[in-house]
Amino acid sequence: MKKTVIPIGPYHPLQEEPEFFMLTVEGETVVDVDVQVGYNHRGIEKLSELKTFDQSTFVIERICGICSTSHPFAYTRAVEDICDIEAPMRAKYIRTIIAEGERMHSHLLWLGLAGHFLGYNTVYMWVWKLREEILDIMEIISGNRNNYAMFKPGGVRRDINPDDIPLVMKKLDKILPTLKMLYKAVRDDPVLHARTKGVGVLSREAALDFSALGPTSRASGVARDVRKDTVYGAYHEMDWEMIVTKNGDVYDKVAVRILEMLESIKILKYCFLHLPDGEIDAHIKNIPPGEGIGTHEAPRGETFHYVRSDGGNGPVRHKVRAPTFMNLPTYKATIKGAKIADASIILAAIDPCYCCTERMAVSDTKGERLFDGRELIRLSQQETLKWKQKLGAVEPPLEKLTRGTL
C-alpha cells in the first residue's frame, strides 16, 4: 500500500502550541511517526551566560511553567557542586516542600488532561478544582502560584512563616480523601481498563535503550528515581516508596502517577511537621573555577544541569536537559501498530512538558481524509463511548451537565 505524508501546520489557526508529530497511517493503524520539535527554542543556554549566577536562577525558572521548580533545583545543586558546599538543613526541607508541591500540581494537571482525552470531562473539572488547593498552598508559602523564586545557590531566598503551617495542613487534609477516591475509581472502572490496558506498551528493553526517565520508565519496570538513588534534599529523612510497575502500558503510567501523588502528600506532611530551625542560606561569596553537575527528579523524570565556571560572575557554559528530551523519542517504540483512536492518549501518556498533543497531524495513505488534533481527541472520546455501551456501564447524570467544549 502506498503511504503518503501530508504535513499540516505548525502555524495552523487551530493549534495552540507549535510542535508537531507526523503520523503515517495505513487504514486504521499507525505505521510511522516523525517528531519535529524546536518551535519553542528560545536560546536559554546562551542567555544564561549573560547573567550572574544569582540572576540566572530566574531565567532558568521560566524554561517551563509546570516544572518551574525542577530546573532551579538542579541548577543550584550544580553550582553548589562546583564549590562543594551544602545548603543548611532548613533550606533542604523548604526545597523539598516546594518540589513536592510542584509534583502534586503537575500530576493533577496531567490527570485532568488524560481524563479529557479519554472523554471523562467530569474528571477533568474535578481534578483541576483539586489542583487549586495545591496552588493556594504554594501561594501562601512562596508568594506566587507558579514561578516561586525561592531557590538560590546556597539555600533559599525566603523563609516559611510558622503561623501559616496550620492552614496549609488543613488544606492537605482536605485533598487526601478525594485523591483516594480517584485512585479507587481508576482501579475499578472497566471502560478505563479497556481503553488503556495493553495500549502503547513500552517494553523494558526499549526503555533501557532510549534511556527513558521518570514515570515513563518506572511503568516499564526500570526502577530509577533520583530521589532514592542520590542523597539530596530531605528525601532520606522519612519513609516513602518508589512506585514501579511492570507492564509499560498507559494504564500503568496512570497508576504510577496517582500513587506517586499519595506518597508526595506523605512527604509534604512530614516536612511541615518536622521543619528544623536554623539558617536558610549558606552565603556563598565566590564561585571558584570548575564544573559541576546537578540533578533533580522532576515530575517527568530526571532534570540534568551542567555548569562550568571560570571564577567570574556568571556561568561560562550552562547545559540544560529536560526529561522530556529523552522521553520524546520513545514514541518510535510505542505508537507503531496502534489504532488512530488511541493516538492521542499514547502521545499524552509520557506527559510531554506542557502537553503537546494538540499539535498532531495525521494523513491517510490514500490522501483522502486529514485529521488534526481536535479530531483525534474527538475520535478517542467516541471510542470510550463505544466501550461504555458494550460493557453496559451506566453513565452518571453529571456527565451530561459538565461536558464542555474541546
Binding site: 474535578w126 506566587n144 523564586a149 512563616n161 477516591m181 479507587k184
Partner: protein
C-alpha cells in the same frame, strides 16, 4: 458496578452543594494572601537613590536618568511594570532596610498604553564642584555618613555634605578658596578630581 457509582455520586452531590472554587471577581474584590508578591513600589521616605535595585534586577526592569531640572540636579529612577517579573530581588537588595522599594499586593495591573507603564521616583543629586560630574544621590551620601559614624571626617566630600545638610556651613566659605590648586582638596569632589588634586598630574 453499583458501589463505585455511589462513591462518585456522593462526590458529585458535594460538588453541587459547595459550588465552584473560583472567587467572584469582579463582582467582589479579591485580596490575595499577605505573602503575595505583587507590583514593586518606591517609598519616598526610605529610598536613598543608590541604584542597587537596578544592578540586581534580572529582567533589567529598572533604569535611571540624571538630568538638571529647574536648576537642581535630579536623578529619576524608573521601574517598568511590563518588564518586571515580580521576583523580589530589588526588595532583597535595597540598602534602606528593604523598604526603599517594596512589593505590594497589587495584581490588577492591566493598562492600555505601554509608554505609560512605569513608576518613578526622584532623588536630588550631589555634583562635583570642580568638574560638575555626578557623585551620587544626596540621601545616599547621608546614609553612608550615618553608617560609618565618626569616620565621616576622613573624607571632605562626606563631611561637607553632612554639615551642609545640618546647616552648619554655607556656600560663602567655599567661594573664597577657589584657586584650582591645593585648596580644592577641601571641596565636594568626585573620585577623579579628588585623585587629581591629591596626587596631582
Amino acid at each position: 458496578m453499583r458501589l463505585p457509582k455511589i462513591r462518585e455520586l456522593l462526590e458529585a452531590v458535594k460538588a453541587l452543594a459547595v459550588g465552584p472554587y473560583t472567587s467572584k471577581f469582579p463582582k467582589k474584590p479579591h485580596t490575595p494572601y499577605p505573602s503575595f508578591r505583587g507590583q514593586p513600589k518606591f517609598n519616598e521616605d526610605y529610598c536613598v537613590g543608590c541604584l542597587a535595585c537596578e544592578q540586581v534586577c534580572p529582567a533589567q526592569a529598572i533604569d535611571h536618568t540624571d538630568t538638571v531640572k529647574g536648576g537642581r540636579a535630579v536623578r529619576t529612577i524608573n521601574h517598568y511594570t511590563d518588564t518586571c517579573i515580580f521576583c523580589g530581588e530589588c526588595e532583597a537588595a535595597c540598602i534602606a532596610e528593604h523598604k526603599g522599594i517594596k512589593l505590594s499586593r497589587d495584581w490588577d495591573l492591566a493598562f492600555f498604553d505601554r509608554k505609560k507603564s512605569y513608576e518613578s521616583i526622584e532623588r536630588e543629586l550631589v555634583l562635583c564642584e570642580v568638574c560638575g560630574g555626578v557623585i551620587g544621590a544626596k540621601k545616599h551620601i547621608l546614609w553612608i555618613t550615618n553608617k560609618i559614624g565618626e569616620l565621616t571626617f576622613s573624607n571632605p566630600t562626606l563631611y561637607q555634605t553632612r554639615l551642609r545638610e545640618l546647616g552648619l556651613i554655607d556656600n560663602n566659605l567655599l567661594e573664597i578658596k577657589k584657586d584650582g590648586g591645593r585648596d580644592d582638596r577641601l571641596k565636594i569632589l568626585c573620585a577623579r578630581c579628588r585623585r587629581q588634586t591629591t596626587v596631582g598630574g
